[in-house]
């Protein structure tokens, strides 16, 4: 595999805001400026732009990535928008690396800027929803995860103490993360989680992500170019896989299974890693139950053992399996096109996570979850293994 001939050489992010006080293009400009400063690249050297399609602000534009080039004065040989929902953050890195391998660009900006609270233009009803679920008031992701979690409960059993432990672990990480949404940086207890109000029973308020505004970005280039440029910190994508519409050719699908069964295995095999070798885990978190299903799908534990795995494992930044050490989206805010967990993994592997720095930076595993389909679990599943290089 050749994606690993490339590396992430810099990251940037704004603070997550409950509602942005400035335009999405200003946030994008701040990210570009920060990445140019960090890498020493001249703007003219950036010849690739890969954006996330998971954008409420850009969701009404057919020309979002191109108009971003226009706004930022970028002239590129590769201009791309990734449409795998919450998998688009890692998907952008993979596509940037593939484009570099294919000779379409050499220095790519992966840009994740969105202000979907300040300005939401996106639509998500030109699919099954307008005929088949909107007429019943099934409320988007919380409704779908309500169906999912109750089915999981019936099959395996849900332990609210375990879900509460996940909520508290991530919240404690957000409190240590000065870029997390300020309104979420308050301590919670397992009882707070259990007593939080029902949104889509059995989904509670503290099961859910909160939409927030912000931006982040990465520079991906070939390791050769990075070396020429004297960029010492290189984070290498050594394994990547994605799966969209898992079991899409079946009519009845067990919602406790997901495409991570395939994406996870392939990404780890490519990376040459066993799941037991993973040193920090940065799973996509839109709902807490999604974390449990991922522990099972990736093989940290057997199907049905996710709750016990949570009970038995210290997932804090200093634990045996550090997880979402920046707070995850649930406690940092769902901002910047859901790139938060990816950016945190890169920061950890670069050794720049400050007081929440994990000890073992041998590798990190980042995942994505994208879109909600009809009566299933989610539309896209992705996994990317990262290691620090020279």
């Amino acid at each position: 595999m050749s994606l690993r001939d490339n590396a992430i050489v810099a990251y940037a992010e704004t603070k997550v805001m409950k509602k942005s006080d400035r335009d999405v293009w200003v946030l994008a400009g701040e990210i570009l400026e920060s990445l140019l400063d960090k890498t020493g690249f001249d703007k003219a050297e950036i010849d690739g732009l890969v954006m996330s399609g998971l954008t409420g602000t850009g969701g009404a534009s057919m020309f979002w990535a191109q108009s971003t080039c226009d706004m930022l004065g970028l002239e590129v040989g590769f201009c791309e928008q990734v449409h795998t929902g919450g998998c688009s953050a890692v998907g952008a890195v993979a596509r940037a690396a593939a484009a570099i391998d294919a000779g379409m660009c050499e220095v790519a900006l992966c840009l994740y800027a969105d202000t979907h609270v300040r300005e939401h233009n996106g639509r998500n009803d030109r699919n099954y929803r307008r005929d088949w679920t909107d007429p019943y008031g099934l409320l988007g992701p919380p409704g779908a995860f309500g169906l999912l979690q109750r089915a999981y409960d019936a099959k395996y059993g849900v332990d609210l103490q375990a879900l509460g432990k996940l909520a508290v672990t991530q919240r404690n990480h957000a409190i240590m993360n000065e870029n997390a949404c300020e309104e979420l940086r308050v301590p919670i207890t397992i009882e707070d989680y259990i007593n939080s109000r029902m949104i889509a029973d059995p989904i509670r308020l503290l099961d859910c992500v909160m939409l927030a505004d912000g931006a982040a970005g990465l520079i991906v280039t070939s390791r050769k170019r990075a070396k020429q440029k004297g960029l010492k910190k290189q984070i290498i994508p050594i394994g990547y896989a994605e799966r969209t519409n898992f079991l899409g050719g079946d009519n009845l699908v067990d919602v406790t299974r997901s495409g991570h069964e395939i994406a996870g295995t392939r990404a780890l095999n490519t990376a040459g890693l066993d799941i037991k070798d993973v040193r920090s885990f940065h799973p996509y978190d839109d709902f807490l139950i999604a974390l449990v299903i991922q522990f099972e799908a990736f093989g940290f534990c057997k199907p049905g053992q996710g709750m016990a795995f949570v009970r038995d494992t210290d997932m804090s930044y200093k634990g045996t399996l550090p997880m979402n050490t920046g707070g995850g989206q649930i406690s940092a805010g769902q901002a910047a096109c859901s790139s938060h967990n990816l950016i945190e993994a890169v920061r950890q592997l670069m050794g720049e996570a400050g007081e929440r720095q994990v000890k073992d930076t041998t590798n990190a595993l980042v995942t994505g979850i994208g879109w909600i389909n009809y009566g299933r679990n989610w539309g896209s599943s992705a996994a990317m293994a990262l290691v620090p290089g020279e």
């Binding site: 099954y128 307008r130 005929d131 088949w132 679920t133 909107d134 007429p135 019943y136 008031g137 099934l138 409320l139 919380p142 409704g143 309500g146 169906l147 999912l148 109750r150 089915a151 019936a154 109000r197 029902m198 949104i199 889509a200 029973d201 059995p202 989904i203 899409g248 050719g249 079946d250 009519n251 009845l252 919602v255 009809y374 009566g375």
Partner: protein
């Protein structure tokens, strides 16, 4: 769980259809449930698609009337609905596995909160829409064995 679930029958709805799903909606005019059937694989699929999800071929699709009887696979109780549903909460939405092997998601009526359970038998309740079509809801099938 001492909440009483409401029905959402009097919510104003303006449902837009896709042309390839129209046989479903046309059948609801006479309170019939028709589901897409793949002739090549002898399997049903729901929601309606432009092709068979099993073979990828449009020509394999036909529509068959089914009983509408099924069992609850899962359900959720909405405590916070979209704007048109504000004031109706809490209300229930269930995914029901039909006896022909597809899941169909719909609202629940005529069901006490404490009775709503995974595995319970359901049958259609047809709610008239202004255009002459009916919207399928689920209600307990008390006659089912």
């Amino acid at each position: 769980m001492a909440v009483t679930i409401h029905d959402t029958l009097d919510v104003k709805r303006d449902i837009k259809h896709y042309d390839f799903g129209m046989p479903f909606w046309e059948a609801t005019r006479s309170k019939k449930l028709v589901i897409q059937y793949c002739k090549a694989t002898k399997k049903y699929q729901h929601f309606p698609r432009p092709v068979s999800i099993f073979t990828g071929r449009r020509r394999d699709i036909e529509w068959r009337e089914v009983s509408g009887k099924g069992t609850v696979y899962s359900f959720t109780i909405a405590h916070r609905g979209p704007p048109a549903f504000h004031g109706k909460e809490p209300y229930a939405v269930a995914s029901v596995t039909l006896d022909v092997g597809v899941n169909l998601i719909a609202g629940v009526v005529n069901c006490a909160t404490e009775d709503l359970k995974i595995g319970m038998k359901m049958k259609p309740y047809w709610h008239p829409l202004e255009n002459g079509e009916h919207l399928l809801f689920w209600q307990p099938d008390k006659d089912a064995a």
